[in-house]
């Protein structure tokens, strides 16, 4: 015998599937689908003029770490690839660190303004987002280049005799990425700090904590979810950055993003490009798992305030 509540539940189950169909379709065709294509391409033979030949091959994956000697065909560890991976991870970590160091005081400043003013400060923070990334990156280049703003100023004031080479090195890439991704760090930090109960500061001071101890033992642990979120939002796109290293790093300071582009373009090695894309995905996933673990650990003693 079917009870009325069962009928109702069946109906709501069916409606549930129908209602989530658009989202599911989007996930399958827009997210998983292209990813599957990339995954399949990474296991295919490369075509001579780009594209792929539909034959199974591990060359793409092998090519990530090794390069085949053009004379005797032996596999050697590809130092150039290693350098690119290491540079990508290093610059992304440094970008995260720099945006945190600059972003935390900024977010604290905004979160401690009167509520009516906060919207204005956040608005100012997001204005650069409205400008094209290329334009912003070229603008940074304009400041850093040999005839640029800084060098001109330094030369005019006589502080230096010859212009300093600031563009086309890792430092320039770092400056560019920190500038571009700073808002992504500030916004989640702001959200966490805004929820922070400022009365805890008084409690901590009252209990003999110095300013540094308050920061270390009270503020940072409580706003940790914001720090983690901001770090993810900065680290992940930094790792795959393409425009910034291309324009500010010149040809020599490639990051994974540029390396992938190279395979699909001049390199004409689509399987390698696809394998590199998947590798990037794996690195990001591992980093995310690491971050999520960190959140859970901080959340275990936390309670509802986190």
């Amino acid at each position: 015998m079917s009870r009325p509540e069962d009928t109702l539940r069946r109906r709501s189950d069916r409606n549930g599937w129908l209602l989530s169909a658009p989202a599911l379709a989007l996930l399958v065709f827009a997210a998983s689908g292209p990813l599957m294509i990339v995954l399949v391409y990474s296991f295919l033979e490369k075509g001579q003029y780009g594209n792929v030949i539909w034959e199974f091959s591990l060359d793409g994956w092998v090519g990530i770490l090794f390069s085949r000697d053009i004379f005797d065909g032996t596999l050697n560890l590809a130092d150039a690839h290693m350098t690119i991976f290491w540079r990508s991870v290093k610059l992304s970590l440094l970008t995260t660190l720099i945006t945190f160091t600059l972003g935390f005081p900024t977010a604290w400043f905004i979160a401690t303004r009167p509520p009516a003013q906060r919207a204005l400060w956040l608005f100012l923070m997001t204005i650069p987002f409205w400008t094209n990334l290329l334009i912003r990156t070229f603008a940074i280049g304009e400041i850093l280049r040999t005839e640029g703003l800084i060098n001109t100023a330094l030369l005019k004031t006589g502080l230096i005799a010859a212009p300093i080479q600031m563009l086309y090195n890792e430092g320039a890439v770092l400056v560019g990425m920190a500038y571009v991704y700073l808002p992504l760090m500030v916004l989640p930090l702001f959200a966490a700090i805004e929820r922070f109960d400022m009365r805890l500061l008084e409690a901590a001071y009252d209990l003999y904590a110095s300013r540094m101890q308050v920061l270390r033992h009270v503020i940072l642990p409580i706003v940790k979810p914001g720090i983690v979120a901001g770090s993810i939002l900065v680290f992940v796109p930094s790792l795959g950055a393409y425009v910034t290293p291309r324009i500010l790093g010149g040809g020599k300071n490639m990051m994974i993003g540029n390396f992938i582009e190279l395979q699909f373009g001049q390199g004409r090695n689509w399987p390698l490009g696809a394998a590199l894309s998947m590798t990037l995905l794996v690195i990001v996933t591992v980093a995310l798992l690491f971050y999520v673990r960190a959140i859970n650990r901080s959340g275990s003693g936390g309670g509802s305030h986190g």
């Binding site: 008084e202 409690a203 001071y205 009252d206 209990l207 033992h217 309670g303 986190g306």
Partner: protein, 351 residues
């Protein structure tokens, strides 16, 4: 100022804001709180009692005047360098720490060694009977339990003075009564000077050794609960603590002359006579010295009743009478009765 005083405030002034919008939260407050005393600052919200507490804790700096702790000038010391701890109205427990870590926080910040922190924390947890919940997160605790943790946390570093900012206001009535007893016990056991802020006059009367009544940024009266209740010095103190009657009087031949012409003997001096409802007796009209009055209404309160009376000049007066066995008050609205004040109960005060 002697070394007997745990806290001394000398001519303390505190203004918030600048220029025309400046608000004077404390207006020339001078006060001495003795060592080992349970002292209560009592007053309505906005009277400056919390501001005074925050000045003692060091969260605010006074606009003028001096604050001494144990005879030492601490006026400009930051809170982390004053031997004073606070129990906050919101408790302000650290949400990322367990009960035990909360209690041990101050000791850890002071850099005490591990064994000492652990030992003292355990003793504090035992003192507030929270040993069993020591490893819980604070969010999992009830209001009363959080209160205990806040107390243990503030007592752990053995402050010279413990400041309590309306700590019981968030608790329900039953729990509040329990915590009142608990606080008294803790104060006796630790011997620490407690400075307690409340707007609840009953709380102040039952717990305090002495009470400082505040209003509009000024300290109105500092005295024991009994003195505050029986001998208030002005209309504000008399009206704020307990219920009372106010009757305008003029100087009579040998006492105070009421509006209706009757003369009564009263202590003190001033244009207003105050007498507590329980000190007003309803007597026979022909009793010597009885003031003629009419019964307006009777309000039944279970153990006693309030009789609203009207004197011949129209002045209102409330008498609180115990109910006789059987519960029949023997009077009814509209009756003409006599009114007599208990000897020594009527006082004259300033307006």
């Amino acid at each position: 100022m002697t070394s007997q005083d745990a806290v001394t405030a000398q001519n303390v002034v505190k203004s918030f804001g600048q220029g025309k919008v400046a608000v004077r939260a404390l207006d020339d407050v001078s006060l001495s709180i003795r060592k080992g005393e349970f002292f209560t600052l009592l007053g309505p919200s906005g009277c400056g009692k919390t501001t005074l507490l925050r000045l003692i804790a060091g969260f605010e700096m006074p606009s003028g005047g001096t604050i001494l702790l144990d005879g030492q000038d601490v006026t400009t010391l930051p809170p982390n360098r004053r031997p004073v701890n606070t129990v906050f109205q919101s408790y302000a427990l650290f949400p990322h720490l367990t009960v035990r870590e909360n209690v041990g926080f101050a000791l850890k910040m002071q850099g005490r060694d591990r064994a000492e922190v652990e030992d003292r924390t355990n003793r504090m947890l035992a003192l507030v009977k929270m040993e069993e919940l020591a490893d819980r997160a604070t969010a999992q605790l009830s209001g009363g339990q959080q209160q205990r943790v806040a107390l243990a946390r503030a007592l752990a570093p053995q402050p010279k003075v413990l400041l309590l900012d309306e700590p019981l206001s968030a608790l329900d009535l039953k729990l509040r009564k329990e915590m009142q007893v608990e606080l008294k016990r803790l104060q006796k056991e630790t011997g620490i000077t407690f400075v307690f802020v409340t707007h609840d006059q009953e709380e102040a009367l039952t717990m305090s050794d002495r009470i400082g009544v505040m209003s509009a940024g000024r300290l109105q009266q500092v005295a024991t609960p009994r003195e505050i209740y029986t001998a208030p010095i002005n209309r504000f103190v008399a009206g704020f603590i307990g219920e009372t009657n106010f009757l305008p009087v003029t100087k009579g031949a040998d006492g105070a002359r009421l509006g209706c012409g009757a003369e009564v003997t009263a202590l003190g001096e001033g244009p207003v006579l105050t007498v507590r409802p329980e000190q007003v007796g309803v007597v026979a009209t022909d009793q010597p010295g009885a003031i003629a009055a009419t019964v307006d209404t009777l309000i039944y309160f279970g153990t006693d009743m309030h009789v609203h009376l009207r004197l011949s000049d129209g002045a209102a007066l409330v008498a609180r009478l115990p109910l006789p066995p059987g519960g029949d008050p023997g009077i009814a609205a509209g009756d003409g009765v006599g009114v007599a004040f208990a000897p020594g109960a009527a006082r004259l005060i300033g307006d």
